[in-house]
């Protein structure tokens, strides 16, 4: 290798490495800030108690209401989006395999849905809620968040399914499998790690979004028991507390952010573990 090539190689390695590690540094920086700022407020009370009277002025209590509300909403919405998104992605890749134009049109619409800001989903959910005569509630929040995350779920799973070798698809059909058997037994199994990634992304987006639940789920200091009761969420808990003039309350906002981050980290790790475990039989 001549000298010029060596210099060129070193410069590009440095630039690529810098780009990669600076992303990781941002994550590390966010985590450090959240934990440092919220450290004093992090206590067992934060995750085991609901706000008592005067909590937002520095009184006793925690954000259990928002933790439970967020988990309920994100899990409910993810569940709905699995039931809609999984068959939709499989349908796109198995039944519509010959119909490239329809496939591409559907993908275009899904990408558009993905790009719509969550506040628009919030507004849409709110109008839908009024039309159906519902109040701000857990179920309204779940439905709105499901609308927000289903396109993410479908397109992520779809991207993985579309990389499955055509030979496997053909091998399944050649055996005499129906399209449904090919989709749910073969393609789903082969694309399972992508499915887990899709679920994780959808869940992460659902649990972290504030705008879609602002009008639809409402906010309450109580833990919701029924679907028609309002529910608090962590992003809104952070939002409300961060705007407080009282330093202790602002600290609690960072503590709530730390809890949200920990939930996402745990789910991310679990998803990686599951997808690794179940993709060991995958063909390469």
């Amino acid at each position: 290798m001549n000298r010029r090539k060596i210099i060129e190689e070193n410069i590009f390695r440095f630039l690529s490495g810098f780009a990669t590690y600076s992303l990781i540094a941002v994550l590390a920086f966010i985590i450090v800030i959240i934990f440092v700022k919220g450290f004093n407020a992090l206590s067992l009370d934060m995750i085991t108690k609901t706000p008592s009277g005067g909590y937002y002025y520095g009184g006793e209590g925690g954000v259990l209401n928002a933790i439970v509300g967020s988990l309920y909403i994100a899990m409910g919405a993810t569940l709905i989006s699995i039931f809609i998104g999984m068959p939709a992605a499989l349908y796109l890749n198995v039944h519509l395999i010959r119909k490239k134009r329809i496939q591409n049109t559907i993908r275009y619409f899904l990408d558009t849905l993905w790009g719509i800001p969550s506040i628009v989903y919030g507004a849409f959910g709110f109008i839908l809620m009024l039309y159906l005569g519902m109040n701000a509630s857990l179920i309204a929040g779940i439905i709105t968040v499901a609308l927000l995350i289903t396109p993410i779920m479908v397109r992520t799973f779809d991207e993985v399914l579309s990389t499955i070798p055509k030979g496997l698809h053909e091998a399944s059909l050649a055996l005499g499998s129906t399209n449904a058997e090919t989709a749910f037994k073969i393609m789903f199994k082969q694309g399972f790690s992508g499915f887990i990634t899709a679920v994780l992304l959808a869940f992460g987006r659902g649990i972290g979004d504030a705008a879609s639940v602002l009008f639809t789920a409402g906010y309450t200091d109580l833990i919701p028991i029924n679907l028609d009761e309002p529910a608090a969420t962590l992003p809104l808990a952070i939002f409300f507390q961060l705007g407080s003039p009282i330093p202790e309350v602002r600290e609690r906002a960072f503590a709530a952010a730390a809890i949200l981050t920990i939930i996402i980290l745990i789910i991310s790790l679990a998803a990686r573990f599951i997808s690794k475990r179940y993709s060991r039989t995958n063909i390469k």
Binding site: R98, G167, A174, G176, I186
Partner: protein, 272 residues
């Protein structure tokens, strides 16, 4: 219950064998044309495939051999750009112009592709999948048949202690035989092999070739290859194709000794 199912299975086996030996040809293709847009890929194909023989489709790459194979098990349906006209009769049923459901037609033949595509499950489940497709649910019967088919392809001794390992942990040659076992589990009458040894080492290739020579007792085999020596080794009947047309066909000894067409003569010279 088990013995009853066993009896039914054996009866089914006998039925298949009887029907195979009734006539001389199992598959007849007439006036088959395939177009991809303006390209005429297969031109007026007329062909009879003799039963319990190895018919080799021979020809240079891109001559339409694989497309012909895909027409036979209707995988051409997956390609929007392909327009297929004509008739393919399997046991007097025109599979190109029928309202019968496609999976049941495809189950009449097994397919081995250029590289093996085991299903993304364990070795055992690969074969069990084929058996279950035939509607068999009895666990004992599935086990019995899985062992039978793995023995049929000479894989049982190699895998019997690791049936639950992923199919991908096998060597490519073993994977190809697993795919064959999975195909046989569906109880096909015909085996379609699309250059099944092209990704394999010479030893694994020989195992597959020997296997086909044994399997022709029970199945009709259509074997696609562009390797002349392979055709000489295994063929009972050779169909030489070029540019989407059948140029010549017949017994390999006669065909290769006295080629009539210029194209085959050239191919023989280049191939040797």
């Amino acid at each position: 219950m088990n013995s009853l199912n066993n009896d039914t299975m054996l009866q089914e086996d006998r039925d298949i064998e009887t029907s195979i030996f009734e006539k001389n040809s199992i598959l007849r293709i007439s006036d088959l044309n395939v177009y991809a847009g303006k390209h005429h890929i297969l031109k007026n194909i007329n062909l009879e495939i003799p039963k319990n023989k190895i018919t080799v489709l021979l020809g240079p790459s891109g001559c339409g051999k694989t497309t012909l194979l895909k027409c036979i098990n209707k995988l051409t349906d997956l390609y929007k750009e392909l327009a297929v006209t004509g008739h393919i009769f399997i046991e007097d049923e025109d599979i190109l112009n029928t309202s019968k459901n496609i999976p049941s037609i495809r189950q009449k033949m097994g397919l081995l592709s250029q590289r093996p595509y085991p299903l993304p499950v364990s070795i055992y489940k690969n074969v069990a999948y084929g058996i279950k497709l035939k509607g068999i649910r009895d666990k004992k019967l599935i086990e019995y048949n899985a062992e039978k088919h793995l023995k049929e392809v000479g894989l049982w001794e190699e895998v019997k202690n690791r049936l639950n390992s992923p199919a991908t942990s096998l060597s490519i040659g073993q994977q190809q035989r697993l795919c064959l076992a999975r195909g046989l589990a569906v109880k096909p009458r015909i085996i379609l092999a699309d250059e099944p040894t092209s990704a394999l080492d010479p030893i694994s290739s020989k195992i597959i070739e020997d296997l086909f020579k044994q399997l022709k007792r029970h199945y009709t085999i259509i074997f696609v290859t562009h390797v002349l020596r392979q055709a000489t080794r295994i063929a009972d009947n050779v169909v030489f194709m070029d540019n989407g047309e059948i140029i010549e066909q017949g017994n390999p000894n006669e065909l290769f000794k006295n080629p009539k067409s210029v194209k085959l003569k050239e191919y023989l010279v280049d191939g040797n």
